[in-house]
């Protein structure tokens, strides 16, 4: 039988969703075209060539190295793309992804990633074409509800704020908003206007967001309601503490 890793303990819906995110077993919910995605990322003009920071690896004449022979470069690295970033903010009001789970998803399922996790946002640096592939995966699937999350390169404020009256997470730079029942974005991730209105689809209802979220909340699925998670969290904490304890210090 093939080995099937189990990434996260627990039997609650939140624990199951966390496992799904880590295993990249997520449902696709919307289509965002490559050009639209490039536009909202804002790193290059849609349709233009990828700027490069070095020649393609095949032309560079790499040194003789067993590790380089074993590890196949990602498409972005092979082409010499620049390192670019994408940053998501997620509302604590039942957004589908906890920032840490975006990092886990990126680090487990993609190569050449440099994820950075903060309390309310997650930034990921990759080669440009790899980054677009990764961002598209997160943006099109149930990992992102565009009403409760946002692509925000700067001025990320919103994670811990109450929602607006229309149920959308606050965005100080008004990059994306609810229009006619769908979320539209007409600025890139740093707030610079773009030449199109990108349709990001319908936001989730409150009930659906509560079902798909990876956030533990006392008013939805409480962290302490999952005994297996508590047990493993305490076990790891105990082992870390013992491992880190040095009597000589």
């Amino acid at each position: 039988m093939a080995y099937k890793p189990q990434y996260y303990p627990g039997n609650t819906s939140v624990a199951k969703n966390r496992r799904k995110h880590m295993a990249d077993d997520v449902e696709k919910m919307r289509d965002i075209s490559d050009e639209d995605l490039t536009a909202i990322l804002g790193h290059r003009a849609p349709g233009s060539d990828y700027p490069s920071t070095h020649p393609p690896l095949a032309e560079m004449g790499e040194p003789d190295c067993p590790v380089r022979e074993v590890v196949e470069p990602t498409p972005g690295a092979a082409a010499g793309d620049r390192i670019r970033y994408a940053q998501f903010s997620d509302s604590m009001y039942n957004a589908p992804s906890v920032p840490y789970w975006r990092s886990y998803h990126a680090a487990i399922n993609f190569r050449g990633v440099d994820p950075g996790t903060l309390s309310g946002r997650q930034v990921n640096e990759m080669r440009e074409r790899d980054l677009e592939e990764y961002t598209k995966r997160q943006a099109e699937t149930e990992m992102t509800d565009w009403g409760l999350a946002g692509l925000r390169g700067c001025t990320v404020h919103g994670h811990s704020l109450r929602l607006q009256e229309d149920g959308v997470m606050f965005d100080m730079l008004d990059r994306r908003r609810l229009e006619g029942g769908v979320i539209v974005m007409d600025k890139d991730q740093v707030g610079v206007p773009i030449d199109r209105k990108v349709n990001l689809g319908k936001p989730m209802t409150e009930a659906e967001a509560a079902k798909r979220t990876t956030f533990y909340r006392v008013d939805n699925v409480a962290f302490r309601s999952d005994k297996e998670v508590i047990e493993w969290t305490q076990r790891i904490w105990e082992l870390r503490t013992k491992y880190g304890f040095q009597p000589k210090a």
Binding site: C154, T155, R162, E165, L173, D174, V190, G191, P193
Partner: protein
């Protein structure tokens, strides 16, 4: 708001904390309802800033044009919202007005809200205020401010004129 009320130690302050951040229309409705309550001395709205321009990142200097940054009218006085309203602090003359405030909120807000009583806006000048306004004279060491209700309503570095709205000021001497 009444201008004849005196600042005394018996004042009550209430924080109105809605479950959602208010759209300008709801904020306008709420403030107008609160303004109709007898005994309201002053109100302070606060929330998250709606900047006119982007202040950081590669887009610095570009206009934001946030749709919630609009002019609202409260009791005939127009002012531009600089924040998305998250809470309203209200100071009233006495306890009897608090229940009326609750009824006003129930009329204006389509979702739940919390009301907390406490001390949210300062009523006595502090060192910072004396630094900004100074003494009245060499012999009178009270603060050089015509109306002490201004205290605590704006940041010490902000300008009074652009941040305070005097409602019905012309009706009173």
């Amino acid at each position: 708001m009444v201008r004849t009320a005196k600042v005394t130690d018996k004042l009550k302050q209430v924080k109105i904390f809605p479950q959602r951040l208010l759209q300008p229309e709801t904020a306008e409705k709420l403030l107008n309802e609160l303004d109709q309550v007898k005994g309201v001395i002053r109100m302070l709205i606060s929330g998250k800033n709606l900047p006119r321009k982007i202040t950081c990142g590669p887009g610095t200097g570009k206009d934001v044009n946030h749709p919630d940054r609009i002019i609202i009218h409260v009791s005939g006085c127009a002012f531009e919202l600089h924040v998305i309203v998250g809470e309203v602090l209200v100071e009233v003359e006495d306890e009897s007005a608090v229940e009326e405030l609750r009824k006003a909120c129930e009329r204006a807000l389509p979702f739940p809200f919390e009301m907390k009583r406490g001390y949210f806006i300062k009523t006595k000048p502090t060192l910072t205020d004396f630094g900004k306004y100074g003494f009245k004279s060499r012999t009178d060491e009270t603060i050089n401010l015509e109306d002490e209700r201004m205290l605590g309503l704006v940041d010490p570095h902000a300008k009074l004129e652009t941040n305070i709205c005097m409602v019905k000021a012309e009706e009173n001497p």
